[in-house]
């Protein structure tokens, strides 16, 4: 009887796993089926021509790369520093609790609200214009909470006994953090970065008013240029223009590339994480 119940439990768990994998598998399958037809060397390396129906999407891919990289550049150091402060230095009081709650709530802010915020603050107030810089900063706001909370969790998971061991040897607080706590927490921190990279690369709303443009001739000249970006490009292809059929094909091609890019970025981060783990576990 007990055995049967256990088997039923396992069965349910397996079912859930299979359903989850199925969802992922179906997404990859359909996007690949519909997108693969248009993928060619030309599509990956050329700029769009003839109202998006000819040529490729090279500048679009590049735009997404710029924006993602830019946002990580801002949010990673800020997020880690913030997590270190909250975990290792901050006193435990009311104000710090408010800050923690605020960070968690920041994660729940809809991305289009971030977009409007970016428009008001970075584009208008700081006069950065619709640009890579504004878009990156807006995206980094979006990535910040998940990086902070992942880094915090990774830092909290380091046993207090490790910190005590280091301090008892005469290491300063900062040496302990720099040489014992952060290296041990790094794999966990990277997990947070993986998740936010995926999210940042695929977000449309935050760059809608701050960085993205449907069409721009040539590659961006500086961080103050507007860019084309994959998620926005897909959105625009599906909602605007005069050649819906060809545009849909291009959109699926873009979707496949976006999916592929996110998978590559995640794979790199997972590789780093595994390597780190193997150092610490064997």
């Amino acid at each position: 009887m007990k055995k049967n119940k256990q088997n039923l439990g396992f069965l349910l768990i397996y079912l859930c796993i299979i359903l989850t994998l199925l969802a992922l598998g179906l997404i990859i399958y359909f996007i690949t089926i519909r997108g693969i037809k248009i993928i060619s060397w030309e599509f990956l390396t050329q700029a769009p021509r003839a109202a998006m129906t000819k040529g490729g999407v090279f500048p679009v891919i590049f735009g997404t790369f710029y924006l993602t990289f830019g946002s990580i550049l801002f949010s990673l150091p800020l997020g880690i520093a913030c997590a270190i402060y909250l975990c290792e230095y901050s006193p435990k009081n009311f104000i710090i609790n408010i800050i923690r709650i605020s960070i968690n709530n920041l994660a729940g802010v809809p991305s289009v609200v971030f977009g409007l915020f970016g428009l008001a603050v970075f584009v208008k107030f700081f006069k950065l214009g619709v640009s890579i810089l504004s878009g990156s900063l807006t995206l980094s706001m979006l990535a910040l909470p998940s990086i902070i909370s992942a880094a915090q969790e990774a830092l909290i998971a380091i046993p207090q006994s490790q910190r005590e061991a280091s301090l008892a040897l005469g290491a300063s607080h900062w040496e302990t953090i720099k040489r014992i706590v952060i290296p041990t927490a790094l794999p966990g921190i990277l997990t947070g970065v993986i998740l936010s990279v995926g999210r940042v690369a695929g977000e449309t709303a935050p760059i809608l008013f701050t960085a993205a443009t449907f069409y721009k001739r040539g590659n961006p000249k500086s961080v103050f240029s507007e860019v084309m970006a994959l998620p926005y490009h897909i959105y625009a292809l599906m909602t605007e223009g005069t050649h819906p059929e060809q545009q849909t094909a291009v959109a699926y091609g873009c979707a496949l590339i976006l999916l592929f890019l996110v998978l590559i970025i995640s794979a790199i981060a997972i590789y780093i994480r595994q390597k780190q783990r193997s150092i610490y576990e064997h």
């Binding site: 006193p91 435990k92 046993p159 207090q160 006994s161 490790q162 910190r163 005590e164 061991a165 280091s166 301090l167 008892a168 040897l169 005469g170 290491a171 300063s172 040496e175 040489r179 014992i180 041990t184 150092i279 610490y280 576990e281 064997h282």
Partner: protein, 257 residues
């Protein structure tokens, strides 16, 4: 005859009261610990033993909302004085913890860490110190061929001896043991005890222990704590054979604790 006349006092604790938030963990403690001797701190759980020993290298500072009154003197200098550097104190007063806590690094790097933190850059000197301290902690023969293996692969007893070696490498003069054998098997415990007996020839040792036989085997002096108070202090022989206080006797004979 006064004990202090024949022994060299290394650490003197004067009128120490210690509070966690509002609750008092130590009440008016006065205690001397002597050079080249092991002092055992015994008492039932929650009597303040660990709190006490962690005051000697200022480890309790890490806990928020604590308050210390009174003085702790190391060679006559107040370790809590404003002009005392906590890093210096901790280099002089090493500590071995209840649970072995090696870093998730190689054996070698576990030992080199304290030296690098101390500012020693000379690779040869670092290596020399590492070998010396591994030999002192009687771990050398077991690890000499795998210094670059991860320390977490060692057994619990080996890990604890590694922690002792790590502590010895930075050349402290006082070593605090906070229940060093609490999580070890009898064979590892015996090894660590032998080691402590050996170490007390050159160091000042303070050891917190739950195990009364252990206190009897390794220590020269014993202090009995109960509910935050120091009930009795004396030579280990005296405490174990003819305690003056009734509570000490009751504890030693196993009537409570």
């Amino acid at each position: 005859m006064n004990i202090n006349d024949c022994f060299n006092c290394r650490i003197r604790v004067e009128n120490v009261n210690f509070y966690y938030a509002k609750s008092q963990a130590l009440k008016n403690i006065n205690l001397d610990m002597f050079n080249n001797n092991a002092t055992a701190i015994i008492g039932p759980s929650g009597c303040g033993k660990s709190t006490f020993i962690r005051l000697l290298n200022r480890m309790n500072e890490l806990i928020p909302n604590t308050n210390l009154e009174g003085k702790i003197l190391l060679d006559g200098k107040d370790i809590n004085a404003i002009d005392t550097d906590v890093v210096e104190i901790r280099q002089l007063v090493g500590m071995v913890f209840q649970k072995p806590n090696p870093f998730p690094k190689s054996i070698y790097n576990n030992l080199s860490y304290g030296l690098e933190v101390k500012g020693i850059k000379d690779k040869h000197l670092i290596e020399k110190r590492i070998i010396e301290s591994l030999k002192k902690s009687v771990l050398w023969d077991e690890v000499k061929d795998r210094l670059h293996d991860n320390a977490l692969r060692l057994s619990g007893g080996q890990q604890q001896r590694l922690c002792i070696a790590r502590c010895l490498a930075v050349e402290p003069e006082v070593i605090l043991f906070d229940e060093p054998c609490a999580s070890l098997d009898p064979i590892s415990t015996a090894k660590i005890e032998e080691l402590i007996v050996e170490l007390k020839k050159n160091y000042t040792i303070v050891i917190v222990t739950h195990n009364m036989q252990q206190a009897a085997r390794v220590s020269d002096f014993t202090a009995f704590f109960l509910l935050g108070e120091l009930i009795e202090f004396g030579t280990t022989e005296k405490i174990f054979t003819s305690p003056k206080n009734k509570k000490t006797e009751e504890y030693l004979t196993g009537r409570f604790g």
